[in-house]
Amino acid sequence: MDWELLLAIFPQVVMDGLVLGFMYALIALGYTMVYGVLELINFAHSEIFMVGGFVGVEILLTMQATGWLDTFNPFVILIFIILMGMAVSGVLAVVVERVAYRPLRGAPRLIPLISAIGVSFFLQDLVRLGESLWRNAFYLTYPSFAAFNTRIEIAETIDFSVKSVIVVVASLAMLFALQFLVTRTKLGKAIRAVAEDQPTASLMGVNVNRIISLTFLIGGAMGGAAGVLFGVQYNTINPFTGFIPGIKAFTAAVLGGIGNIPGAMVGGLVLGLLEAFAASYLSLLTGGAFGAEYKDIFAFSILIVILIFRPRGLLGEVVRERT
């Protein structure tokens, strides 16, 4: 076995895994926050993520057509499209909650779940229809920025592209901001109160509907930011892009302990790293018997093992059943 090669690619694999993991973590936050307050698995969240990616690519393509892409600093553009992606996705998530979930509040738990799946299909085909009419294509490619593709060389075999660093830094910043918001502010206290006990929170003067909308706004915005970062990192986006990352992020949320914000981050990172290691190392370690395509089996097997021994997830707490 080629140990030297395995060692040489190690830092690169860690970096790939971190980039992927932070992306999963950002998406997982949307699942976990909504689950925290409503105990609803919001399957439309993967489409919220996809819409964020499309907002980014549409702005970039428009800027490219008008020639503005070269006049502005790429970092300014990036921050702008991330903010726009967050805004559109956040608002979209709020609208989805208002239209598809709020009328079903109080219904058996399976009903809003089915509604969520319906919204998911609807958004996929809506984007497909819109892009087909608008651009006559729905597989879109992000314009590439030379500045982001520059590689930072650390050692002979270790180098990272600027955009990988951007993904990691941007995700970290957003995760810390969110953690601060939820644990240190009055608003965060209200969110936690609603998550714990809706009737009591409302008796204490918390506007429950507003807090739920806010939760969707924040979760959607994180998803939208992830969508833009995903597009910048991997260039390509289509209306069905959201499905797989969405499922993985949901897994990450469960792995970390659903309803738990630091858990979603840890879950995302663990899953991203596992996947990157499996994909890069499996075929090298097994002499080609198991290829990169087994990465998901590997990652999900680990998930099953963890959940057998820690059913509440890595950071999940045992929550008292509501009466």
């Binding site: 694999v13 991997y234 390509t236």
Partner: protein
């Protein structure tokens, strides 16, 4: 890509166009003979599938003369197989149910053609394929299946030879998309690379469509001279693009699945300079196809995509076979059996090549081209052209 809506309008337009023809022929009509196409008309490969359908439509309009003279109306029935095997099989069952359909022109994807042709076989319905390159298409020995294009085992050999001799590759890394076609051609490339003494440093399959990082990391460490991707352009483009962004300097190669202007749109500068092999290629490589390209452009207001000219030839063969079968039946409506037998006997000097089938349904000689992608898709350069006989069945 073609939206469903414009497809609907097109179908409508077709239906309207067909009405006056019915009126004229009603008096002497002995019935209608239908030719079906099965190609992806929606989804990511729709650009290719749509071109194949339109070329078939054009061929029927231009070449239906002799069959109409014999008193039959000729109609096109387009089906959308969505590049999915299950949809292709479901369509095939509908095709069998329509007794007027005597020939199927299609498919684009070997993975769809293989199960669908098993259905056609039940009624011995002829399938003439313009684009299916998997060796299994004809090696199964089905009497009703023929093709006008080359085969992946030869294409893989041609690509491997080219990588060694022209690109001076000493090591290659092979990635494929795990579908029947992509994995097939990748395996042939691997087999022939090994036979040629080229070091195959990796062989990896993945259905991934966006994040190729984990696949590219080992490739970067191994630094192969050539990366070969077995599959189609929607995956090839992001793979190659991310490879360049990751700082991989290897040369890129692909098979006929990447032969579309979309490759350059999606891949950008990363794919400029890469080589690919194909059994079809641009129309300008076929001097006899100039008139076809002109009338195609005039009628549909776009350039024919690869496999359009091959579809035109396939349809021409189908019409010739139908004509011969009508003659044999004494001017009556021919049976599917008769048409299927007649297809194999057709000797056709087509716009892409002179087609004559061997006993398996392969063309006795097929064309293989190697291209280099340039900054503009139309400027892509044909660097090699080979005429190779189909290999005999291994006993």
């Amino acid at each position: 890509m073609i939206s469903r809506r414009s497809l609907f309008i097109l179908t409508l337009a077709l239906a309207v166009a067909a009405v006056p023809a019915t009126g004229q022929l009603g008096a002497q009509g002995k019935g209608t003979i239908k030719i079906a196409t099965q190609t992806p008309l929606s989804g990511e490969l729709a650009a290719l599938g749509e071109g194949m359908k339109l070329a078939t439509q054009l061929a029927i309009e231009q070449l239906k003369g002799p069959v109409e003279k014999a008193g039959f109306k000729v109609e096109l029935v387009p089906f959308d197989d969505q590049a999915k095997p299950d949809v292709g099989v479901a369509n095939a069952k509908n095709i069998l149910a329509d007794k007027d359909i005597l020939v199927v022109v299609g498919h684009l994807n070997s993975g769809v053609a293989l199960p669908a042709s098993e259905v056609y076989k039940e009624a011995n319905l002829a399938m003439v394929s313009p684009a299916n390159t998997s060796p299994l298409i004809t090696d199964r020995g089905l009497p009703n299946v023929s093709r006008v294009c080359g085969r992946d085992d030869v294409q893989g050999a041609v690509a491997a030879q080219f990588a060694k001799e022209n690109l001076k590759a000493k090591s290659v890394y092979i990635v494929h998309n795990k579908n029947q076609y992509g994995q097939g051609i990748a395996e042939f490339f691997q087999e022939w690379s090994k036979k040629n003494g080229v070091n195959v440093v990796g062989f990896e399959g993945s259905e991934e469509r966006a994040n190729f990082d984990p696949i590219l990391t080992p490739i970067k460490a191994k630094n192969p001279d050539v990366i070969f991707f077995g599959g189609e352009y929607p995956q090839a483009a992001p793979l190659f693009r991310q490879a360049r962004e990751k700082g991989i300097k290897s040369k890129f190669m692909g098979p006929d699945g990447v032969d579309s202007s979309e490759l350059l749109k999606l891949g950008g500068d990363a794919v400029v300079g890469m080589h690919y092999t194909t059994v079809a290629g641009g129309v300008k490589e076929y001097p006899k196809a100039k008139a076809f390209a002109d009338s195609f452009k005039k009628k549909f207001n776009k350039d024919p995509e690869p496999f359009a000219a091959q579809s035109y030839d396939s349809t021409a063969i189908a019409l010739k076979a139908i004509e011969a079968a009508i003659k044999d039946a004494g001017g009556k409506m021919p049976t599917r059996d008769a048409v299927t037998k007649a297809v194999r006997k057709v000797k056709h000097s087509g716009i892409t090549s002179a087609v004559e089938f061997d006993d398996k349904g392969d063309p006795k000689k097929a064309t293989y081209l190697i291209y280099q992608v340039a900054k503009k898709w139309d400027d892509r350069k044909m660097v090699k052209r080979l005429e190779i006989a189909a290999p005999q069945k291994k006993m």
